[in-house]
């Protein structure tokens, strides 16, 4: 008996203490509310919607059809709105990273009062509601607005307002997304050790090489997280494109609301919603995989 136990001790790792059934019950009870909420308010309605858009009533019996989707992709207005949404989302994301990378790098490596002030400024949009932002931007970017006035004082008179044009949507959405992106990127950058950067510098790497070869590979995960979450927020955005953007083409959020509330065609609105949902689900999957691979890596290490 003694030998047996000895061999067991040496060959097998000590099993983790199994949680008792009470512990498990408590754990499940704790995650149950959000899980049930997700299931009943998101998953089931989403599945129901998807199923509804794929069925057609043939003499009282439901049948499978793609007709609603075919109609969507044959309607030039719907297609142009979908393409417009993609276009705005990708341009906005590009601008977000162009603005936020320098900001995050600065906040990671700079110290002192100025850096503190910049951080406060970068986080400020977090506390401004979208509607307020939209009206402030109308005042700022509009014809004879603040920017127009400042430029004309400086002698530049060729200003054409972006208000009610696609540019204004990009402007508003970028401003709104700065705090979250900067927070995620700065957090990622904090994990890059100073020692690594210093040793790279010692062997003669310049700033660009340090960024491209050392920093970027290490923060690819936070970049992916910022990309996917921003994508989801922008693709489905409503207030900014509605108040600042053109009447046509429209982003999907505005288009869906319009189809549902104004054109009174709930079926078509549902089809638009499912298409939007599927596109966002693909990006959501990217996010989930990124986070899951991080978990796995942390557990392995």
């Amino acid at each position: 008996m003694k030998d047996d136990s000895d061999t067991l001790m040496t060959t097998l790792p000590t099993p983790a203490p199994r949680p008792s059934w009470r512990k498990a019950a408590i754990a499940y009870a704790l995650i149950a509310p959000p899980l049930l909420l997700m299931v009943f308010l998101i998953f089931i309605p989403a599945l129901q919607s998807t199923a509804r858009t794929l069925t057609v009533d043939v003499n009282g019996t439901p049948g499978f059809t793609l007709s609603r989707y075919i109609a969507f992709f044959q309607d030039p207005v719907s297609v142009s709105n979908l393409m417009f949404t993609f276009q705005i989302t990708l341009i906005t994301l590009l601008v977000i990273f162009l603005v936020c990378f320098p900001l995050a790098l600065y906040l990671r490596f700079a110290n002192g009062r100025l850096a503190g002030a910049v951080q406060v400024l970068a986080l400020f949009p977090l506390f401004v509601p979208g509607v307020i932002l939209a009206f402030a931007l109308i005042r700022f970017l509009g014809t004879r607005g603040t920017l127009d006035t400042m430029l004309s004082i400086a002698g530049f008179t060729g200003f054409r307002t972006p208000y009610l044009k696609p540019d204004a949507i990009v402007f508003g959405l970028v401003w709104e997304s700065i705090p979250f992106t900067v927070l995620v990127l700065t957090a990622g950058l904090r994990q890059v050790s100073d020692a690594l950067i210093e040793s790279a510098r010692d062997v003669g790497a310049n700033n660009w090489q340090i960024f491209w070869r050392i920093i970027l590979p290490q923060i690819s995960r936070p970049v992916l997280i910022a990309f996917s979450l921003n994508f989801l927020g922008i693709f489905g955005s409503y207030t900014i494109p509605y108040l600042l953007g053109p009447a046509a083409p429209q982003m999907m959020g505005v288009f869906m609301q319009q189809t549902f509330g104004q054109y009174r065609r709930p079926d078509d609105a549902e089809t638009q919603a499912v298409i939007t949902f599927l596109i966002c689900a693909v990006v959501g999957l990217l996010y989930v995989r990124t986070v899951a691979s991080q978990r796995k890596q942390e557990q392995d290490s």
Binding site: P76, G142, T143, R144, L164, P246
Partner: protein
């Protein structure tokens, strides 16, 4: 300091006491409103003091239900429940309500029929208000043209829709209206185009099921509005609301807009619109408008007081205040009001107030506009 506070508190208590004593002597009229701030302020600052002075036996208890659940509809629901149980609904007058917006109200005859016998002032109310027997139209609003008189000479101001179209084409970038589903002032520009191509006779549009032959004529309106698309502010940029349009006129970005009479006249009186702003109405067929209807629940505890209030609202004195204070249009004929006031509004006075039927017609109007006027894409391609 402390003593002064105590004294002030004591004085306040005394005053409140005195107030409540006098309030007990007066019979309360429970009034509910869910209208915008300008209207509830108007009640607090003008109607209530004037009414209580003219009728000291009554006290108005105003409750603002704006933004709370269903607003006045919830209170009407309560009144309906009280009607079934025979209780006091604690509601005597609704400042604004659609008396036929819920079938249960109609079936139970929840609202009192008003006529010249119980509300003598109804004799002065104009036909254009188009009221149901339970409705008390007491203020109106109509869409009109607002323009910068410094930039547009009086003789150049369009008097017909055709002239308006011409003016817009001749002055590119100087005119703007909002998307038709985002505010009535822009919708009026679109519905007026539809009236224009359907014979300028709004009476052919009957609420309810849409007439397909009428909807079949809408493309002519899209052509008309499409012909000015490039001449609209910033090559065809349509703001998403009445207020952004007023703002574009106020800051000089454009020199002519369509606007609600009450919103623009009030903005003018407050100095938000510059003094150079002037107003005009089309003479061949005016833009659409509408009236606000009050109503009295038939089981109100203070019907007597509510009827007195209803009649008071239609008094010429109050109708004049509505024009002066909130830029509303009177529910009574303009010529009953002081000549001075009439001459001030002479360019916008009309006894014709066309209405748009809404429902399916609105859905077709909005969708048609988005797909044909606002975009360069041809949905049929």
């Amino acid at each position: 300091m402390k003593l002064r506070f105590a004294l002030a508190a004591a004085a306040l208590t005394l005053m409140a006491g005195a107030f409540s004593v006098s309030a007990q002597d007066r019979s309360p009229i429970y009034v509910y409103t869910d209208s915008d701030t300008n209207v509830s302020d108007f009640w607090t600052n003008f109607i209530i003091p004037a009414f209580e002075e003219a009728h000291p036996e009554y006290e108005i208890v105003l409750t603002i239900t704006r933004g709370v659940g269903g607003g006045n509809a919830d209170i009407a629901g309560r009144a309906l429940a009280a009607l079934e149980t025979g209780d006091d609904p604690q509601a005597d007058f609704f400042e604004q309500i659609g008396v036929d917006s819920q079938q249960a109200w109609v079936d139970a005859e929840l609202f009192l029929e008003l006529n010249e016998e119980n509300v003598p002032g109804l004799a002065n109310v104009i036909e254009a208000t188009n009221r149901l027997p339970q409705e008390l139209p007491y203020r109106g609003s109509q869409v009109l043209l607002a323009y910068n008189s410094e930039l547009v000479a009086a003789e150049d101001v369009p008097t017909t829709y055709a002239e308006l179209i011409e003016w817009i084409q001749a002055n590119p970038g100087q005119f703007v209206y909002n998307r038709p589903d985002r505010g009535g002032s822009g919708a009026a520009m679109v519905t007026r185009a539809i009236f224009e191509v359907t014979g300028r006779d709004p009476s052919v549009f009957i609420p309810g099921t849409a007439d397909e032959t009428l909807i079949g004529q809408f493309p002519a309106a899209w052509e008309l509005l499409g012909s000015i698309h490039d001449s609209i502010y910033e090559n065809g940029s349509y703001p998403a609301g009445n207020t952004p349009v007023l703002e574009l006129l106020a800051n000089g970005s454009v020199s002519m807009i369509t606007a609600w009479s009450d919103q623009s006249l009030q903005a003018y009186n407050l100095g938000i619109l510059p003094e150079t702003t002037a107003f005009a109405q089309l003479q061949d067929l005016p833009f659409t408008g509408g009236y606000t209807y009050g109503a009295i629940p038939s089981n109100a505890a203070n019907i007597e007081g509510a009827l007195t209030l209803a009649d008071f609202l239609l008094s010429l004195e109050m109708q004049q205040t509505i024009v002066e204070e909130i830029g509303g249009f009177p529910a009574v004929a303009w010529d009953l009001l002081p000549t001075e006031l009439q001459s001030q509004y002479t360019n916008v006075i009309t006894d014709t107030v066309p209405t748009w039927p809404g429902g399916d017609y609105t859905a077709a109007m909005v969708e048609g506009w988005y797909n044909n006027v606002a975009t360069n894409i041809d949905p049929a391609s």
